[in-house]
Amino acid sequence: MSATSILLQFLNGLAGASALFLVAAGLSLIFGVTRIVNFAHGSLVMLGMYLAVALSEVVGFWWALPCAALAVAGLGALIESVLLRRLYRAPELLQLLATFALVLIIRDYALWQWGPEDLLGPRAPGMAGAVTIIGQPFPAYDLFLIAVGPAVLGALWLLLTRTRWGTLVRAATQDREMASALGVNQRLQFTSVFALGALLAGLGGALQLPREPATLKVDLAVVSDAFVVVVVGGLGSLPGAFVAALLIAEVKAFCIALGYSKLTLVVEFLIMALVLVLRPWGLMGRMPAPARGPAALEPPLAAPSPRVLAGLCTLLAALALVPLATTGFTLVLLTDMLVFALFAVSLHFISGPAGLHSFGHAAYFGLGAYGAGILALRIGAPMELSLATAPLLAGGGALLFGWFCVRLSGIYLAMLTLAFAQIAWSVAFQWDAVTGGSNGLIGIWPAPWLASKAAYFWLVLALACAAIALLWRALHSPFGYALRAARDSPLRADAIGIDARALQWAAFTVAGLFAGIAGALHAFSKGSISPESMAVARSVDGLVMVLLGGIQTLTGPLWGAALFTWLQDALARGFDYWRAAIGCVILALVLALPGGLGSLGGLLKRQGRA
């Protein structure tokens, strides 16, 4: 590479950094004040892009930028005042889930409004050409973008330090309860902060138009990029977000220029890993104070009573008899339910009792599925061997990723697990030679003795039940008690000699291993795997199942998985916009039953008494 092309690539990276910074800054501001991680932030970026395309036909490109940004800001204010306002006291997992429901709804809205095809945006009038830099052409619009980042950083800095509104925002970011006790109007503040964050997201999206088309896939891609930026820069630090956006965008630009575009995500991951090892709270972040005392009083997780156990055994026996009655579609659905029940129980294992809120559990499900497929197809291993070995691959992945994840907690951990899952997904999506790329792998069938639907169902039933029983047993062993102690009072657990980090790392690995079993079983039951099986949406499916069932119950994930699998199947067959429908169901549940389906029983009991 010559010095000139290095300079041009550097400028190219700077141009990419601007939009990324806008998005990450909005995410960080919103989190700072409302403590909500806005999963739908990428969706707001996407809306900004589509709206700018639509508006530029009416008012022209330059006016479309502020108009689209303002429209997204208005939507942000609406979302905050209608939905999120009701959730500020809810557990953070539910808040994340509610914003994910918005992702589904906004995605389907865009699909309905603008169709599935990518929309090419207009060129920027007056900046459509190139300027010459040291004899090389460089897009004039990119120079404009390079200026936008620092300009917005400066404007935000002035807004936050020179205005009363900014002073109140900084105060609330530090201690919103105290700010409230001093009479700061929280409704107005939260709505305005959310609107500003949405404005930045919408603007970030609209600004990208001359560089890339508006597409539906942008929502999750952008939000996980923004998570990486925020984690690297330090949550709540705007200069941190700026530096991190520069770093990430430069790395991307140089990876692409050197012809390693497929390595982009891997390099991004390596940077993030390096930063997290050296500075766990990001380049400019600060360590959050450790939780003292019980943050939320969770009732102790009870071992299943003899009655519950008897009920479960009866259910098991009934399920074992089903293949005698039918071998049709019911059996396929039941197989799916069992697989996802195991997946949900393994996720519950770490997110409930261990308190590690994973937003990327599908990575291990996918590793198990791909492991089984690759062993069976590429190496030609017998099905039994593939099924037994694949979960080890998932466990190995969890061992590696978990080492980083358990260093963090709360929101940081959720973001990091999501980013890891996104990386695993993109490796599966891009590594054509091994994983089959976007087509996935087909022709992964069980051994002849398991070829019938009934035989395979019995195998899944036996393995899933044994695995679930094992996980439940572990929760009621000293290992499980120590995990819950470390969750409820990290400092006290530390003081009585519990090595919380080692325990959580072990739990993370175990959960990954068991998710891998579910994944491998899934691969052989479907005969094929696609990258979808480890996409972020699958991770969230798992969380929905766990939360539907109630995170502080033992058997809840079973019912949640069964209900969700059935619901998804029933909706996806008859309805184009089933994602939005599921999003609405999630929102309704989050608002009506914050304790999950499992809490319904308690609720009914209490009402019966009253």
């Binding site: 900084r170 309860e177 929280q186 009083l297």
Partner: protein, 233 residues
């Protein structure tokens, strides 16, 4: 001014306050006394809406406030100074005061940063200092000054003398008496009986979340048996 009826409150399943009544008249300075864990801080937090009351009613100037958000209560003219001071450590002294500023209020003293710097001369000398780099006593003064910026009619002071050097405690007592002269109604919690004796008109004694005694501060002063029973460590 402030009237509490059968107030009960707690954290999750742990109940701390078990229904007590309390009334504060305009211009009165009442000290809430009791041992560690008696429920003094929880009382103030419940009045301010920071710990939602489980039962009972709180009326402030005739308006019922026990279901309101803290910021609405603050805007009615009730101010709160927490035990841990809770200064915004990233903000300067002036900015901390700015956060507390509310519009002028009928019937209340109108405080400005300038007037507060006269009441707490130390603060006036460090206007641009970050809250995080101030001493404990300075933070306590800033915390009180910040809540006065809301031009309150009544002030809830949680352990104003805790952890302060004796000379600062003296200054603090002077400032509290000054506020009382300005007509502010004050409810403060205290473990330091000498401090309470200097400033309070009336004493209320809390034990395990219930009101055990109330009467003139001077009566408590004259009754060693009462002090021994409820306050001795």
């Amino acid at each position: 001014m402030l009237e509490v009826r059968a107030l009960a409150a707690g954290y999750g399943r742990a109940q701390v306050l078990f229904g007590f009544d309390l009334a504060l008249r305009a211009g009165e300075l009442v000290a809430l006394l009791g041992r560690n864990g008696a429920g003094k801080s929880t009382t103030l937090k419940a009045l301010m809406g920071l710990v939602p009351p489980a039962a009972g009613e709180v009326h402030f100037r005739g308006e019922r406030i026990d279901r309101l958000a803290p910021w609405r209560i603050a805007r009615l003219g009730l101010a709160y100074v927490p035990e841990e001071r809770r200064i915004f450590t990233d903000l300067s002294v002036t900015e901390n005061l700015e956060v507390g500023r509310l519009p002028r209020r009928e019937g209340a003293v109108h405080w400005t940063a300038q007037r507060l710097f006269e009441l707490f001369p130390n603060l006036g000398r460090m206007r641009d200092r970050r809250g995080g780099s101030m001493s404990g006593g300075e933070q306590q003064m800033l915390s009180i000054a910040r809540s006065l910026m809301g031009n309150p009619l009544a002030l809830l002071l949680d352990e104003p003398s805790e952890g302060l050097a004796p000379v600062i405690v003296d200054a603090m007592a002077g400032a509290v008496l000054e506020l009382k002269r300005e007509g502010l109604c004050v409810l403060l919690t205290e473990q330091n009986l000498r401090f309470a004796r200097r400033v309070a008109d009336r004493a209320c004694i809390l034990e395990t979340g219930q009101l055990r005694h109330q009467g003139a501060m001077s009566a408590l002063d004259a009754d060693p048996a009462l002090r021994e029973r409820y306050l001795a460590a």
